[in-house]
Amino acid sequence: MAIQVLFFGQLTEIAGNAVGVDVAATGTLRGLEQELWTQFPLLKDRKYALSVNQKIIKEDISLADGDVIAFLPPFSGG
């Protein structure tokens, strides 16, 4: 199934703004994260939160076709 992955802030310097990822139908958020660590090794050591469809998700969840995942480094607005 097709998942869209977005990167923000300093993470764009490692991974660009967005990638499309094709994951197994049984894919989970943490599984996807591991795949992306392989693809972008510098990502692993960075601090970030993950959102799925514009909700911050702290645990692991199953992904569905069309989900939008975002890697969010610490916020620094204002």
Binding site: F8, Q54, P73, P74, F75, S76, G77, G78
Partner: protein, 144 residues
């Protein structure tokens, strides 16, 4: 959902206009305004000349809506306005405008201070500090 983002710096004319619009709301007795201004910080002999702001806007506007509801729930406010810059804001220019109004000062002052903390800590916005030699570093928000 209300859009809080503006492209580039926030002008003082815009701020004056926002204040003026409240003259007709004669139940208001107190306004509190917080303004963020880009500092020309010096880091290893380089001077910050601008901050470039980006956001995950869909998430930010949704989060701002939650913050807005929580603040109206907690404080006896008449109104509340938040504006945050995206794109380039040069040193000395304004990047954040938080504006609360209430019949009495305590609510306006406390709500404004709490809003500023929530905006800095919970909105998915990132600042890239660009130096005068065109290098950059990513802004880190600290307490105070």
């Amino acid at each position: 959902m209300k859009n809080i983002f503006v492209e580039g710096p926030i002008s003082t004319a815009f701020i004056a206009d926002s204040i003026q619009k409240h003259a007709a709301k004669t139940s208001i007795g107190a306004h509190d305004i917080f303004l963020g201004q880009v500092r020309a910080d010096i880091v290893n002999d380089r001077i910050v000349s601008a901050i470039e702001y980006t956001s995950y806007q869909e998430l930010a506007l949704q989060k701002m809506q939650e913050i807005r509801e929580a603040i109206f729930e907690k404080y006896a406010l008449t109104c509340m306005h938040v504006h945050h810059s995206l794109g380039e804001v040069k040193a000395g220019e304004l990047c954040l405008f938080v504006f609360t109004s209430a019949p009495h000062r305590r609510a306006a002052i406390d709500a404004c201070a709490e809003l500023v903390e929530l905006i800095k800590n919970e909105l998915p916005v990132w600042g890239k500090e660009v130096f005068d030699d065109e290098t950059h570093q990513w802004k880190v928000n600290k307490e105070g």
